[in-house]
Subunit: 303 residues, 2 copies
């Protein structure tokens, strides 16, 4: 059996069966980051993200600065989705020895630009020979226990919100997106967010991940889902990957307070796109003429 | 200018110039792991290590189990060299979609075997498409402030020790070595170790790294350096990479106490191979007939 036959979700289940986890691990595999108990009220977040030439970027279409930016940005987006503050990163790079030094310096400039913006320390790394460029950054963050948001907390009646506009990221936004660290920070500081994820594999798949973790259903509305001007179609907007926007839910009361007091003052547009339903409802899209379509986990998967 | 023209040491200096480091960072780039302040008496260790097909292993010569073992083993060896206890790992894998699922399961079996032995939690990961296999593991460890050992603490008069026997790792040991976590744990618990490193790029280069960080000199003796039966020559034994043995120094008094009370009871052979000299002395090898050769940083470098 080949990887492409079983898909990424089944693969991860198989590989991680029986991994060791002691009681210091609050969340292991299966959320945007791992969560580890530090003290009574403080958790450590830990995540990694690999960027591979020709899979995540083409050398002909991305500048070194953009590659470095994207490599750290993806990790920052994961820390943001947990409600956390990014702190320390290590950077592994595999690279062809014939590459110009200035190219690698460019990658590091991109990494350092984002690191400086979000006060992340670059504390270590590893360089290796490789035929194609590969960058893997691991990032440690911190979060107060009270601010931690996972995929698993969505409850029946929750309102679903999304930041920014979706789709068409491949036209360039995937190389220079701003990770929503500040937005997430404001949200968890002032509101009770029940569940959150960053959209890396398309709205439909990533909302499915929230539903799967929360054992819940959902209804979303085509008429309200914000589609980027870069997207060629609605379907593209909800199934393409690499938006790096936040998808989150709050209960009705919190959502009303948010819309009344904060929504207009957020640093990015935030849009209400649907609601969490009870377990038996399923996963449905209400299209523009009011007809309902059943949705499945569908979006960008690597295998 | 190409990477191969400037070498790995100069490359790392260039790339990491001006990286952000705040006061929570006790040691950034330039030791076996980063060291981050957790509490008054507890430090966090953080390291990453990338393993690339055809650079670190050949698919025709290594089993999947061995590849996984080596990937985590290298990180464990780094945590050991700081005197630390390994705790949590995240695993990024880039892989061809045509690879059999059983192959990846084999890699994870190797990772899990070592993780279980050293009580490491596998808390997260990332899988990507890639043309050649690449594995990057990041590992978090913990160390009491009093037990932390860096490369920078060697002092004039220190005695230099090495564990195991060196050289010829390429014949197979590099795929099934036992990281010296337990050995290092005993050492830092009972003795004041002034400096330590794991030998990943050959004794001569890695001892040079201790001297460089400690601003010290050293004299080592060909007659006492333990050469593995797998090594074809003395030169090979001290310049080939991937021994993953510990190289460490203690002051004379501590060294005498160690040799009298503990050396014979260690879980691996430990050998006295030389001494740390004052700054002006240089870096010298005393060969078997008593002649001295000046040494330079020389060993396995990636570019």
């Amino acid at each position: 059996m080949k990887l492409r036959d079983i898909g990424e979700i089944e693969l991860i289940k198989r590989l991680t069966k029986g991994v060791r986890l002691d009681k210091s691990v609050v969340k292991g595999i299966g959320d945007d980051t791992a969560v580890i108990k530090l003290t009574q009220n403080e958790y450590l977040l830990f995540t990694c993200d690999m960027l591979v030439e020709d899979t995540h970027f083409k050398l002909t279409k991305a500048t070194p600065f953009q590659i470095g930016w994207k490599a750290l940005g993806r990790n920052l987006s994961d820390i943001a989705a947990m409600g956390g503050v990014p702190r320390h990163a290590v950077v592994s790079i595999g690279v062809n020895p014939n590459i110009p030094v200035s190219f690698l310096e460019g990658i590091y400039k991109g990494i350092k630009a984002l690191a400086n913006k979000f006060k992340v320390n670059i504390v270590g790394g590893d360089t290796s020979r490789a035929s194609k460029l590969v960058i893997d950054i691991s990032l440690i963050g911190e979060v107060k226990k009270a601010n931690l948001v996972t995929r698993g907390g969505a409850r029946k009646g929750d309102v679903i919100f999304v930041t920014g506009a979706l789709g068409g990221s491949i036209k360039g936004r995937h190389l220079n997106f701003m990770p929503r660290v500040e937005t997430a920070g404001r949200l968890v500081k002032d509101f009770k967010i029940n569940s959150m994820i960053d959209i890396s594999d398309g709205l439909i798949l990533d909302l499915w991940r929230i539903l799967d973790s929360s054992r819940a259903s959902a209804r979303i509305y085509e008429s309200t889902i914000p589609v980027s001007k870069d997207a060629s179609s609605f379907e593209e907007a909800v199934t393409q990957g690499e938006d790096f926007e936040l998808l989150f839910t709050m209960n009705t009361k919190e959502a009303k307070r948010f819309m009344k007091t904060a929504l207009a003052k957020m640093d990015v547009p935030v849009t209400l796109i649907g609601e969490i339903m009870g377990r038996g409802y399923g996963y449905r899209l209400v299209n523009k003429d009011g007809k309902e379509t059943r949705l499945e986990a569908k979006g960008y998967l690597h295998f």
